[in-house]
Symmetry: C2
Subunit: 124 residues, 2 copies
DNA sequence: CTAACTGTACTAAGACAATTAGTACAGTTA
DNA sequence: TAACTGTACTAATTGTCTTAGTACAGTTAG
């Protein structure tokens, strides 16, 4: 479900956050789906539960999951676009596009990629 | 020319790298253009010269600039696509697209954005 | 009710990276 | 010569990440 890379310079809790966010926004983890418990996921990844707890706490603060004491953590549908996050992502999008074009990747190639991702999600 | 954010969790040298890379790939900093000297940019940003030196060293290693002792540092045209870097950027591109669509941004909107960026670069 | 789960909170310690300060040396240029 | 350039190196400091350990309250199946 999730893998982390110890050689990666990025903090483990960031890697966990990004992996879970990717599963959620891609639809692989539907709304109201139950996530692994803090201790369970920590055991699976062989890391400290505190690290998972931090990832869950921040994902909840960002509105991607909801944690309920005694019950568990669950993916949540996203109501109302977070305009700050959207701005961040658009900036990241623009940067990636600019550098890709600089490295020789055509704009048409990128547009095709958007369509392919859209088609792939419609399958599921 | 460049601004850094002390509240940003990312290291200063990474922020400097990204800023310079953005200037280069966007065309704002043309090939063979001279960059500010290590000490000059450090003074301007009110940070240690060692931090700038690290940013320059890594940008040179990645092929975006060339540094010559006694002369200075210069932007370089990029020969031969770095396939590893391209893969990284495509992954970042895909992630941004997926999350943006999840947050309600249409795919057509993103395609339009690619065209606009292309047009803006053609002006310069 | 009990036992085993759930999230959550907190302290303490260690490891590591980032940053700074300071010094130094060699090449370039007006 | 003087003032610039990049580069290299050590030492000290600071802050973050991660772990270990303990604890408490809510939930749920038996």
């Amino acid at each position: 479900m999730i893998t982390i890379n110890m050689r990666d310079s990025r903090p483990i809790y960031e890697q966990v956050k990004d992996s879970l966010r990717r599963l959620i926004v891609s639809g692989a983890l539907p709304a109201d789906e139950k996530l692994p418990s803090v201790r369970e996921l920590a055991a699976q990844l062989v890391i400290n539960p505190n690290t998972i707890q931090r990832a869950y706490r921040e994902l909840e603060h960002e509105g991607y999951i909801v944690s309920v004491p005694g019950k568990g953590s669950f993916a949540t549908p996203h109501f109302g676009a977070d305009s700050r996050r959207v701005s961040e992502l658009l900036a990241a999008f623009d940067d990636a596009v600019a550098e890709l074009r600089y490295l020789g990747v055509d704009g048409a190639e990128l547009k095709k990629r958007i369509d392919e991702q859209e088609a792939k999600k419609d399958e599921a």
